[in-house]
């Protein structure tokens, strides 16, 4: 059979290498000019995506697990790579999004417009894609860390694409620092693992006892290290600025995929254990809830489009964690249904979030491209000039709000179902899930509010400033990837049944204890066909409504007039509701976490008062109120030590001399 000739694993490895090296030709400037090189890289990337997706889907369909030991030796052990449904599931977004983003970049970040950094950007983009794939393929700690580190560094260079801007550099540095602090957690995690198993190789799923202290240490270090990458709440500080300052397609890839690699790490780590204690699940659930609510609350307060989307990533990671939490609690209470629903929900949301967040970032990229600003309050009426983009962004917005008939709804539904299963149980587990369900609801509600704001302010209304009025629709190279993503969103939302088999295999792969209970399957647990049906009905109804409305519109006479100014003679676009004013109520509600900063000068008195300004801003409160002061204090505490580093050469030699003397003396004593 053809499938045997080209095995899925071969496809995936080929795709990984192809992706990683897609930008390599650009490194030889003599060989190719930038534009051609970018074209070549894009083609290679698309090829890699196609091959990789095929491989991943095949793996998921076949449910195959393969392991390969690489023939060379690293200092520690023989490296192992492998492919199984869990990895394959994560490979779906890993190959899908970068492919789309690469195509998008061909127009968005065209070589002719940005000759300075296109080579770097393209190369590292490919490298990042390849390394993300490699992370999911790694089956031992060392290989994993290698791939992980390459991914982190490549992402750093991508964040710092426009390294001539100071804010970009600051964001890059923050990302670099935090990601390495996270890696530090991993440096603790793998030795723990090795101490427990005696090998750097990953243990089989469900083979370690979770009740030991070492297991707790591993869980916590993994939660820290991967959580830092995934951007869960107190560890998310790098995320908003990095995503906001990277080029949009990079943000799409980072937000859509890199965060998911963090999630992958956690799921992979959790899969090693059996007999998970309750507090693991509760902790994960709590983190998820906090990330979800606070993330979306922060998002509401933003008026930088990409920053806002970045906070939504935190929110969605929160949702994924809530799903994971449900799964873990299910493990504790031995409820296979909860495990399956939670895991499947989380995994599906991984895919969903990847698609719709990528879609949104790409859409945002188009808008920014067209308006030349990231500031929502300066935009307005974009839909008129960019109708397709508006439509596609709308699809993304609906999807992210978890509304039917799109995909966000399906995954959230699975998680909700998991909650309900949990509530049926008893004890603390039930209480935890019972408390978590409303949190998810709040998240959904707030997300809707937020996207109403975004969509309303950006796309509707009139342009608020002349210079930032949108000019032109994006080209096909930008619209096509967005369309593909929108189609995926819609497809998953409309026909989740298509994925249920794969999803179940992936979940089973992560938590094999499910297999014990043979009659548990996603099909029986979740009413996916009904979802499809409902969605279809909804769609049909909508279409019908639209058709009818259109006919009414064409039939009825219509005239155009200015907006009624309530008698006021000179309404200007500036009088429209702005993003800040829209969000004001909600940010006020969450002021205790958000700590918004408003600058309201009094209105000067007199008959003809001079101009005044109002300015409000929701800062990255966790960074500015928790980390920065703590670091400041640390810095001040260590200031005396810093005096040792005074730049005077002699003193450095003196340190050496003193050290030498002390060493000699210590030897003598």
């Amino acid at each position: 059979m053809a499938l045997e000739l080209v095995s899925p694993s071969t496809l995936i490895f080929t795709a990984t290498l192809l992706a990683a090296l897609s930008g390599a030709p650009l490194l030889v400037p003599r060989l190719l000019n930038a534009s051609r090189g970018q074209l070549l890289a894009t083609v290679l990337m698309l090829l890699a995506s196609a091959i990789g997706l095929t491989g991943a889907i095949l793996t998921l369909l076949l449910g195959r697990t393969e392991l390969f030991t690489l023939p060379w030796t690293l200092p520690f052990d023989r490296p192992e790579i492998g492919i199984d449904p869990l990895s394959a599931w994560f490979l779906l977004p890993i190959f899908l999004i970068p492919g789309c983003a690469a195509l998008y970049a061909r127009s968005y970040w065209h070589a002719d417009n940005s000759p300075r950094n296109v080579r770097k950007m393209t190369f590292f983009f490919g490298l990042m894609s390849g390394s993300m794939s490699a992370v999911t393929l790694a089956r031992d700690g060392i290989t994993f860390l290698f791939a992980w580190e390459i991914m982190a560094l490549a992402a750093y260079f991508l964040v710092a694409t426009e390294d001539e801007k100071p804010e970009v550099n600051a964001a890059g540095t923050l990302y670099m620092i935090t990601t390495h602090i996270g890696t530090l957690g991993l440096f603790a995690l793998f030795p723990f693992l090795t101490m427990t198993t005696g090998s750097w190789l990953f243990p089989a799923a469900g083979s370690l006892d979770a009740s030991s202290p070492a297991a707790a240490a591993m869980f916590l270090t993994a939660l820290f290290g991967f959580g830092m990458k995934a951007g869960i709440m107190p560890l998310h500080i790098w995320l908003p600025s990095a995503h906001a300052n990277a080029p949009s397609h990079v943000s799409a890839a980072m937000s859509g995929v890199i965060l998911k690699v963090g999630v992958y790490g956690i799921i992979r780590t959790l899969s090693f254990f059996y007999g998970v204690p309750l507090w693991w699940g509760a902790l994960v659930l709590l983190l998820g809830a906090v990330s979800g609510i606070v993330g979306v609350a922060f998002a509401i307060g933003q008026h930088d489009l990409k920053r806002l989307l970045a906070y939504h990533s935190i929110e969605n990671i929160g949702i994924i964690f809530m799903g994971l939490g449900v799964a873990l609690i299910g493990q504790t209470t031995a409820s296979a249904a909860m495990v399956l629903l939670g895991t499947a929900g989380a995994l599906l949301h991984v895919l969903n979030h990847a698609t719709f967040k990528a879609l949104l970032f790409l859409g945002a990229g188009s808008v920014i491209h067209a308006t030349g600003t990231r500031e929502i309050d300066l935009m307005g009426g974009v839909a008129r000039k960019l109708p397709y983009t508006a439509l596609l962004f709308g699809v993304g917005a609906v999807a992210i709000c978890g509304l039917p008939p799109l995909n966000g709804f399906v995954s959230e539904l699975l998680i909700y179902l998991g909650f309900f299963r949990g509530v049926q149980g008893s004890g603390i587990a039930a209480a935890a899930t019972a408390l978590a369900a409303p949190a998810l609801a709040v998240v959904g509600g707030l997300a809707v509010a937020c996207f109403v704001k975004v969509y309303g302010i950006v796309f509707l209304g009139a342009p608020r400033t002349e210079e930032h009025a949108a000019h032109h629709e994006a080209g096909w190279q930008m619209l096509l990837p967005m369309t593909i993503l929108a189609v995926v969103c819609a497809a998953v939302g409309l026909a989740p049944v298509l994925l249920s088999g794969m999803l179940q295999r992936a979940s089973l792969n992560a938590f094999p204890s499910l297999g014990a209970d043979a009659d548990t399957s996603l099909a029986t647990l979740a009413p996916l066909p009904i979802v499809s049906m409902t969605a279809l009905v909804l769609l049909v109804l909508l279409a019908a409504l639209a058709f009818w409305y259109r006919r009414r519109l064409t039939a009825a006479p219509q005239g155009e007039a200015d907006t009624w100014g309530c008698g006021y003679q000179r309404p200007t676009p500036r009088m429209q509701y702005s993003a800040s004013s829209f969000a004001e109520l909600l940010t006020g509600l969450y002021a205790f976490v958000l700590k918004p900063r408003t600058h309201r000068p009094g209105i000067a008195s007199g008959i003809f008062p001079a101009g005044t300004r109002f300015h409000s801003h929701v800062p990255e409160a966790v960074l500015e109120l928790v980390y920065t002061p703590a670091l400041e204090r640390l810095y001040r505490r260590f200031l005396p030590i810093r005096r040792m580093q005074n730049g005077i050469l002699q003193q450095y030699v003196l340190y050496i001399l003193i050290t030498l003397v002390v060493l000699f003396l210590s030897d003598y004593l």
Partner: protein, 221 residues
């Protein structure tokens, strides 16, 4: 030349090496420093030859010759031309005043003696007692690097340290293997060239060879 006389001669040379190490600390003129360094190298070469003669380890003659060429002729010449070219003839300012440096130096010598006392008991080489001097020369070279501001004195301190190490090698084990010595000699030569370039850059950047200027490179806070 009898064995006993050779030992005495070697002791005298060791004492002179120690003296030159102190003279390096005491000297204020840069050219004077270069001269003293050359003398130190000369005594070192002589001592190596004496040890070579007395111990019958004839490869030490080559070492001695190498030392003579490198440390008496080549390196001083390079430094000399450097000093001439960069026009740095003025007095050297020390971070710590010279008498205090001397006292510290004496303390370091006592310390070295104290450290090498056990080795002295264990070794049966005729040169064992000069090991303390060798270690002291290393320490004094380092002290020179610590207490002087000028970049040329830093390199001289470094080279004096190397002299000490070389002397330690001859007095502790009758010299290092030839390959190592050749390698070290080559390294030194290269180091001297690199330092030359380094000086040139410091000089053009700061218009001074005072290494304290380099504190400006530190990020401010």
């Amino acid at each position: 030349m009898t064995q006993a006389f050779a030992v005495q001669l070697n002791s005298l040379l060791a004492a002179l090496i120690l003296l030159t190490a102190f003279a390096l600390l005491a000297q204020r003129k840069i050219l004077g420093l270069v001269h003293i360094f050359a003398w130190q190298g000369f005594f070192l070469a002589l001592s190596t030859a004496v040890i070579g003669y007395a111990s019958g380890e004839h490869h030490l003659y080559i070492s001695s010759l190498l030392t003579l060429v490198m440390k008496v002729i080549l390196l001083p010449y390079i430094l000399y031309t450097l000093v001439r070219k960069l026009k740095i003839h003025r007095d050297i300012d020390a971070v710590v005043n010279i008498p205090t440096t001397m006292l510290l130096g004496i303390m370091l010598v006592v310390f070295s003696y104290h450290l090498t006392a056990p080795i002295r008991e264990l070794s049966n080489l005729m040169t064992r007692s000069t090991l303390a001097v060798a270690l002291a020369t290393v320490m004094l070279g380092m002290l020179m690097m610590v207490t002087r501001r000028h970049a040329v004195t830093q390199i001289l301190g470094f080279l004096a340290m190397e002299n000490g190490l070389f002397f330690a090698a001859t007095s502790a084990t009758y010299g290092m293997p030839m390959v190592v010595e050749l390698g070290v000699a080559l390294d030194l030569l290269i180091a001297a060239f690199i330092f030359g370039i380094f000086f040139f850059h410091i000089n053009t950047t700061f218009e001074s060879l005072d290494v304290e200027q380099m504190a400006k490179l530190k990020e401010t806070d």
